[in-house]
Symmetry: C2
Subunit: 500 residues, 2 copies
């Protein structure tokens, strides 16, 4: 207990939420159903990473890029266009206009919460269940949800060498126009989306990654597809290690790297760093809250409840160090808040509340072209755990509707349990992956068998027919039919999943 100081407000609440991003907002909304004794502490203004610098602006850039690409490809459909002229300033202006609209709507929502529930300032622990906010408030909370988010990782050496050229997605979308050239560092989801989008918008892109293939595909049969499908028009250097960065002539930056035993360098206007995000714990004085960082710089916590040990602290969203995904941050926030306020009682002995949506089905989508999606359990994990499964395959090369759309590239692989015939997971690179991924993720989440799914209606001609092809291929294997059905547009036209 802290003695009262002059000028300090003292609050005693059921729940304090630190951070009003996606996870914190979701936590607030979930908790507000159970208690009005709660407070959200935000230091840097409302508005989520998602809306400000994440999902929304990145999709806006990708959408513009896909329009430019479509114009260049239109001749394949009998539409002639001399060329696509990309007005970089106009692209960025539309992006920011809509981005700001999204941010404003988030801010309006937070500002509509009761003023008594909102504190502005930096929170720091002054005790296991006690926070101080700047110099104006002390909050004693039965439970605390930490939702302070994440920031892009940028090595200090790079920052020191070429700070004026360095971009992350936190700053990329603030550019007044598009650079002429850029080095994109990182082969994960964000690097993949941005490298391709910028290239399609006419930016010269040098793309460096440690990985041997972009896009984060895990299935060894899909990984080889990534490079040819995703590097068109791009200087792609895999297995690259950045050695140094330096200012170069003409106001540019030079990136030196090793790749495959060779040295190389690229001179570019800008360098976009997409090598990951790290949790933000700045100034939280975690130790005073009884929390410690592990050797990865994360706070250990129980995965399902999000609770940190036996403490009163729950983690929600990116700060937990999991994948920075909006839909999981929101679920985390809701879950943490539900756990944190579900039961009255002494803070250190919260009973386990029932978890809403106990099972979590992984769902990852990369919005490149063709899109990448991973659903449920992966090929590697299933193989490692010796789970008996078969892989049903659909090749998009000759898939009817994909061919009509001139998007007949990539493949879908669905993992089916040999014993229970349920879909365990799937991975794909191909057209409409974001949509097929939901059909598959719902099926995995619900524990559906391939037999149930093969009885479900599929229209024609649609890309969803590839799901049926893959499921049918899996069923044929389970029936001991080793022969692989050749991919054919017929599989769309005259086959409804039987007769394999």
């Amino acid at each position: 207990m802290t003695a009262a100081k002059p000028g300090l407000r003292h609050l005693d609440v059921d729940l304090a939420i630190v951070g009003a991003g996606s996870a914190g907002m979701a936590a607030y909304k979930a908790a507000a159903r159970h208690t009005s004794r709660l407070v959200v502490i935000e230091s840097s203004g409302y508005g989520t990473l998602c809306a400000r610098a994440g999902c929304m602006p990145s999709k806006l850039l990708i959408e513009a890029a896909s329009r430019a690409h479509a114009i260049r490809q239109a001749h394949r459909f009998g539409i002639q266009a001399v060329g696509a002229r990309v007005d970089g300033a106009a692209v960025m202006a539309r992006l920011r206009e809509l981005r700001d609209y999204f941010v404003d709507s988030v801010i309006r929502e937070a500002e509509a919460w009761p003023a008594a529930h909102r504190l502005t300032g930096r929170a720091r622990f002054i005790g296991p269940c006690e926070l101080q906010v700047d110099d104006h408030a002390i909050v004693k909370a039965r439970s605390i949800v930490l939702a302070t988010g994440s920031r892009a990782v940028v090595p200090d050496a790079w920052r020191e060498a070429i700070d004026g050229h360095l971009l992350t997605t936190d700053t990329l979308f603030e550019l007044p126009s598009l650079p002429r050239s850029i080095a994109v560092i990182g082969g994960g989801a964000i690097g993949t989306e941005m490298a391709q989008a910028l290239s399609r918008l006419g930016v010269r892109v040098v793309w460096l990654m440690r990985e041997d293939a972009p896009g984060g595909l895990r299935d060894p049969a899909l990984r080889p597809l990534a490079i040819p499908l995703l590097s068109e028009g791009i200087t792609l250097i895999t297995r690259a290690e950045v050695r140094s960065m330096a200012e170069a002539e003409g106001g540019q930056a030079r990136v030196e790297f090793d790749a495959n035993g060779e040295r190389g360098s690229a001179v570019v206007d800008k360098v976009l760093v997409c090598i990951g995000r790290q949790p933000v714990f700045d100034g939280l004085d975690l130790d005073k809250g009884g929390l410690t960082l592990n050797k990865e710089g994360l706070v250990d916590h129980e995965d399902r409840s999000t609770r940190v040990g036996e403490s009163c602290v729950f983690l929600a969203g990116d700060v937990s160090g999991a994948h920075p995904l909006l839909h999981e941050a929101v679920r985390d926030g809701r879950r943490a808040a539900t756990q944190a306020v579900a039961q009255p009682g002494p803070p250190h002995h919260l009973p386990e509340a029932p978890l809403e949506g106990g099972r979590r089905t992984a769902l990852r989508i990369v919005f490149c072209d063709p899109q990448i999606a991973a659903i449920g359990r992966g090929h590697e994990e299933l193989t490692r755990s010796h789970h008996p499964f078969v892989t049903g395959v659909a090749d998009f090369t000759d898939q009817g509707r994909s061919r009509i759309k001139d998007m007949n590239r990539g493949a879908l692989r669905v993992y089916v349990c040999r014993d229970r015939r349920v879909v365990l997971g799937a991975e794909m690179i191909g057209p409409c992956a974001e949509h097929l991924a939901h059909l598959l993720a719902w099926s995995v989440h619900q524990g559906q068998t391939i037999d149930t799914l093969l009885d479900c209606p599929i229209y024609h001609p649609v890309v969803e027919e590839a799901v049926r092809t893959a499921l049918g291929h899996a069923r044929a294997q389970l029936a001991g039919q080793a022969t692989m059905r050749p991919a054919s547009p017929l599989s769309a036209c005259a086959d409804m999943g039987i007769g394999l």
Copy 2:
């Protein structure tokens, strides 16, 4: 029994299939798993309506149109298309090239069947279970699957008046280039798809329909959206009755019509008739097979088994007079064949075989922009049958991803059973309807409750979030919360379906 005639082959089979379209091919493949004593009789060469003049070429035209439209809209994303021009001949050439590829693949499949299973010629009944094929074969069959398909309806008077200007989808795709102007007659799926596609390809379109709105939307809350969303750039005349057609000056055709009590006329190069399709029974001598046409010109049959009364005849595909939909034709064909060959025994006393995929979940998609989809049971049907249900609504106007894609138009309505909380059906006009429709159709088919569905993962930012919005709205109503949640991009960013 027919006496042997010289030059006539006599065949005695378990199953004769008349017509090798989508339904006939599916019937063949299903039956061939059970018997090798079967024959397919085709009079006019292999290749399905779907591939030749239906799903595939229409989607090819739509794809070209959507590219042309995207180019015109690109400026909204900051992209200027320089010198965009629709090359009608090139559009049609690409369409036919890919169309022929699809047709060829169908033909190759049929030609790979054993020669003994294929008869070429016109079939006609010469007895209840006996067919003659031209003058060269007599087929005595334990069961017969009629899969003779359908043709576009064109009134004789129109044909006589302006035959050279009249088109159906059977002939549209054979045009060497695009006409300058066209009257599209009919507001159903095909009329809607073709009117919009042709307009977007630069053809001046006059669109006449009896209906008060295009696209076949049934939900009274959605119907008013159809006209503003689907008539851009088109002269749309609803509640129109064509009075006459005649040749006009300059090699054109004049269409005279009544609409809303007024007379009107349009002078155009071509007239595309999309007022429906009718079953083809030409020269079948149905009466000798013991079959009769009802007053609608259809053959009555049992809906689930597709069997005609107590006869040995089963109907499959368009000939049954149902909606001409590929995926249903294929299912029909499979079902008819399975029924027809499932059990040995006298032809008139076939026991009922178990029906594969007993329940049929309706799934209709119109590939206009925004797309239209209808799933499961409709609003009208549910209202008429006094089924207790609530309607969960999602408005796309402020749906996050739809706004990013500049496709934020339309609405989704999901019908949820008050008692069992299952999704009964849905209807929508909006972005990505073909994909959302599958998610919903599978949910309806599987009998999922909204509670299960609201626990399923949805990524962000995706159009699928609208499904969650609609389901959440339905759940709020079931919980007695009458207030309707205002549509907001927040529903995408910071809400996972609870907290409504």
